[in-house]
């Protein structure tokens, strides 16, 4: 058993002064000394690219790693809708405090107040920074920035660049990163995948990577390591994540001692295109912004097979407007997703597989005209039509929830450092700011906040204490052992000689995780999953087939290690969901709901961060609890009625 104590290092005092005071209290590194420090940044999405660029601008030596062929491919690029910021440009009553309040409430009172307040504070700087870099946000005719509203908020605080906001923000960060590469301050390693985190005397000293072009396994030493490697939504197999998005970096850090917090907090996004057949490889998201003008409905009775335009108004159930009159179609994601599941489970789903609900634009077209609707959503409509062969201007879209984002992740303190000194986690890879449910347009905000405005300060504070210490040599036994472990693992996968592909096992695992730990969870199902996942994993380890060899490009070899990690993580998700005997945000326990079917939180017993410690293969993980205190936003029942 361990002696881990979870110190969140949250400052005290008035909440609006905490970050400023904390920054003032941090140690600084003088400019001439900064270049003596090496910082490893793993991942080049919003958090990673922003952190790498900013740390390099400050003068640190940065080495940056991505398994993609270019930093610009990171999955942040696929975010569509927008980024929140408390600018109050619309004069509709927004403020830093309101964004803070909405985020804490939207997260169902399971996030740290101090972190969320800081996020809301720096949101304002993010927009300024991005505009300075040339991010082409949407503008009004007068040349000012435009905003739109998003689920879970009653103000318009979302900045956007058509339906490609993530792309434009990532390209901004990527370009800043490439400038630092050109100046020689960042050493960029593409097609290089992290396979282990190396610790010595309990401190993170570097990483082990595999070059996925040549197959070379090698070590990198740094004074600090930042994991900016995204979430674990692909544990469900079918998700809106990219094909290669994986949890390996975070999971391997976990196996080296970093606690993994709130793995059961996963976000199921309400507006995705329903699966069309068993061999589908991934699901496609349709931006939540569509809910601004689209109305969601299903037929009132089961098995109503009439085409949508022949179902009269009185036979339609606009169930979000009915159940949540004040937020209506803009109810937060967790609520909208569960409501869709309820009507589909009742047999009122639409489409050939009866696995969707309608998102109907006919009222908006009637009110605003075809041109306005198409100008707002044209690119999304085109994408929808390419996939389904149906035109949403004529036939209502069909949508259904899908795994999209994971609020859980590596446990970090206020400085974004894990419980392993020198190892940080930024962006979706950490657990810190969204509680049990993330509001729309807040992922981009958090990724950039962590990368541009938080980690560059807090990492400096840690490095200041290491002045005069050379990084640990990669010839050190700590690195040699880690490398040998990875080489053994690669040999093992190549010699299994089974019959089924890694993809097959990923799909089978995904079905278990989705069925038992998806939108609705209950004790019996979770217990079943906890016994079935290890059994399937055992079969996988004996029967997976990885062809080819360790040298050169081998995509099956890349995949098999990621699937192995998803097996362990999927099991932990179920364990966490089982221990959390309450419903909150994205975590819905069937046993804990009100008579009306709404989530029932248990603040008395579960107002804590659940952080799991790895205790070795086959051993039960140990749960550590960080109590959550709410000094400013008093927990209430979230009501969007």
């Amino acid at each position: 058993m361990s002696t881990i104590t979870l110190d969140s290092k949250v400052p005290s005092g008035p909440i609006q002064d905490r970050w400023d005071n904390h920054r003032f209290n941090m140690k600084l590194v003088n400019p001439a000394n900064k270049r003596k420090f090496t910082v490893l940044v793993v991942g080049t999405g919003l958090a990673g690219a922003a952190a790498a660029a900013t740390l390099a601008e400050l003068g640190y030596q940065v080495k940056c790693f991505t398994f993609h062929d270019s930093p610009r491919r990171a999955h942040s690029i696929a975010a569509q809708g927008g980024i929140n910021a408390a600018k109050n440009y619309k004069n509709d009553g927004d403020s830093i405090y309101r964004l803070f309040y909405d985020t804490v409430e939207g997260g169902d009172f399971r996030a740290r107040e101090s972190n969320v307040y800081r996020l809301a504070q720096v949101s304002v700087d993010i927009i300024d920074q991005c505009v300075a870099q040339g991010v082409p946000f949407a503008r009004e005719y007068g040349g000012l920035l435009d905003n739109r509203s998003f689920g879970g908020a009653q103000v318009s605080r979302t900045f956007y660049a058509r339906g490609q906001t993530g792309q434009q923000l990532l390209l901004g960060a990527y370009q800043a990163l490439m400038q630092q590469v050109s100046l020689g301050r960042v050493e960029l390693h593409t097609k290089t995948e992290l396979l282990d985190v190396v610790t010595k005397d309990g401190v993170c000293v570097g990483i082990v990577t595999r070059d996925i072009t040549s197959g070379e396994v090698r070590s990198w030493s740094g004074h600090a390591t930042l994991l900016c490697t995204g979430g674990y939504g692909n544990a469900f197999y079918l998700s809106t994540n990219a094909m290669n998005s994986n949890a390996t970096a975070a999971w391997r850090a976990h196996k080296k001692g970093a606690l993994f917090a709130n793995p059961c907090y996963t976000q199921i996004h309400p507006t995705c295109i329903p699966a069309s057949d068993e061999f589908q490889s991934k699901l496609t998201l349709m931006s939540e912004s569509l809910r601004n003008d689209g109305r969601i409905w299903v037929p009132k009775r089961m098995d109503d097979n009439r085409p949508p335009d022949q179902i009269p108004e009185e036979d339609r159930d606009y169930y979000l407007e009915r159940r949540y009159p004040s937020f209506g179609n803009l109810a937060p994601r967790d609520i909208a997703s569960r409501a869709a599941k309820v009507v589909v489970d009742e047999g009122r789903g639409v489409g050939p597989l009866k696995n969707g609900v309608y998102l109907d634009f006919s009222d908006a077209i009637g009110r605003l005209g075809k041109n306005v609707v198409f100008e707002r959503y044209g690119n999304l409509f085109d994408m929808y039509e390419r996939i389904t062969d149906e035109d949403p201007m004529k036939v209502p879209m069909r949508i259904y929830p899908a795994s999209h984002y994971t609020m859980g992740g590596l446990w970090v303190d206020y400085n974004l450092m894990t419980n392993i000194p020198g190892l940080y986690a930024l962006g979706e890879a950490n657990f810190s700011d969204h509680g049990a449910n993330r509001l729309g347009a807040s992922a981009l905000m958090q990724g950039l906040a962590d990368g541009y405005f938080v980690a560059p300060y807090t990492v400096g504070d840690y490095l200041a204490g290491l002045l005069g210490q050379a990084p640990v040599s990669t010839d050190d036994p700590a690195f040699r052992e880690a490398e040998a472990g990875i080489n053994d693992e690669i040999k093992r996968w190549l010699s299994v000689g089974g019959t089924k592909s890694p993809e097959y096992y990923h799909r089978e695992l995904g079905k278990l995780v989705w069925d038992y730990c998806g939108m609705a969870r209950e004790k019996s199902g979770l217990e079943k999953a906890i016994s079935e996942i290890p059994a399937l994993r055992e079969e996988f380890e004996k029967n997976v087939r990885v062809l080819g060899n360790a040298e050169g490009v081998n995509q099956s070899l890349e995949k098999v290690a990621r699937v192995a990690d998803f097996f362990e993580l999927g099991e932990l998700m179920c364990r966490d969901a089982l221990q959390r005997e309450e419903s909150c945000g994205g975590h819905f326990r069937v046993e804990h709901q009100t008579e009306e079917g709404e989530a029932q939180r248990d603040d008395e017993n579960f107002s804590f961060v659940g952080a799991w410690e790895y205790t070795g293969k086959g051993n039960a993980p140990v749960l550590h609890k960080e109590p959550l205190e709410f000094e400013f936003v008093k927990p209430t029942v979230r009501s969007y009625k």
Binding site: R73, A74, P136, T213, F279, T284, G552, V553, S556
Partner: protein, 253 residues
């Protein structure tokens, strides 16, 4: 539907490579082209044969990772569509489909259908940015950007860096990619200070890797984001102006 696939297989950068023929059976209309290939790969693995290596990631047409020559067309037959967004309803039962990697000297094949596109990053590295270190810039609304300028910059910024423009060009030219980034940055007020240096640096870096533009226009036909060659004209204009410009006077309006 059933299809015959002629697929380029190449074991590594130095292997001469060859076409191999596979059968894709029970292909559904609603499958994406890459899901069809996923199925072929699963069958290959079950038969003990190495799967076909190809790049893809987001499968939403935005990351730019995927890119195949399908029957000689970059990203296949559907206009404005990346390979991952191409669906099998565009093909007919019994058809033979030829699948190749991007072909360009600047994009060496790494394995099968996967190529190295780092030359595109080199162009961005040469100047595809606006210098704005993280810190305390002006309030975002202090910079007024007329809507048409912002919209056009966004049209150009929509480039996903897939390299289809290069693959489609008979000269393997990189003009459409380079001009899209230059237009994005050079059209914005924030991009003016570095406009001339950026233009020269990016164009001259491009010429180290890529062929010359002779206005075929194949690039805009192949572009999954339908970026027009008008931006190439803009780039040529700025390049010429830059060469004639006295940089010491560029602060004058």
């Amino acid at each position: 539907m059933n299809l015959t696939l002629k697929v380029w297989r190449q074991d590594g950068p130095d292997d001469p490579g060859r076409f191999e023929t596979y059968q894709a059976t029970d292909v559904k209309d609603e499958m994406s082209f890459l899901e069809m290939l996923d199925n072929v790969n699963e069958a290959l693995i079950e038969a003990g044969r190495e799967p076909i290596t190809f790049d893809s990631d987001c499968r939403e047409g935005i990351c730019g990772t995927c890119g195949l020559m399908i029957n000689g067309q970059a990203h296949g037959p559907q206009k404005g569509t990346a390979t991952c967004q191409l669906h099998m309803r565009k093909f007919k039962d019994g058809e033979t489909v030829t699948i190749e990697p991007w072909r360009a000297a600047a994009f060496p094949v790494q394995k099968d259908l996967m190529v190295d596109r780092s030359a595109l990053d080199a162009i961005i590295e040469a100047g595809g940015y606006i210098s704005a270190d993280t810190g305390a810039p002006r309030d975002a609304n202090e910079i007024l950007i007329p809507k048409p300028a912002a919209d056009t910059a966004m049209d150009a910024a929509a480039c996903i860096g897939c390299g289809a423009c290069v693959a489609a060009c008979p000269n393997s030219a990189g003009q459409l990619f380079t001009s899209a980034k230059l237009a994005h940055l050079n059209l914005l007020p924030q991009g003016q200070a570095e406009r001339w240096k950026r233009t020269e640096d990016m164009v001259e870096t491009m010429e180290l890797f890529f062929g010359s533009c002779t206005n075929y226009g194949e690039c805009q036909e192949a572009c999954p984001k339908e970026i027009p060659i008008d931006f190439i004209a803009l780039m040529n204009r700025d390049y010429l102006k830059s060469k004639l410009k006295n940089r010491k006077l560029i602060g004058q309006s």
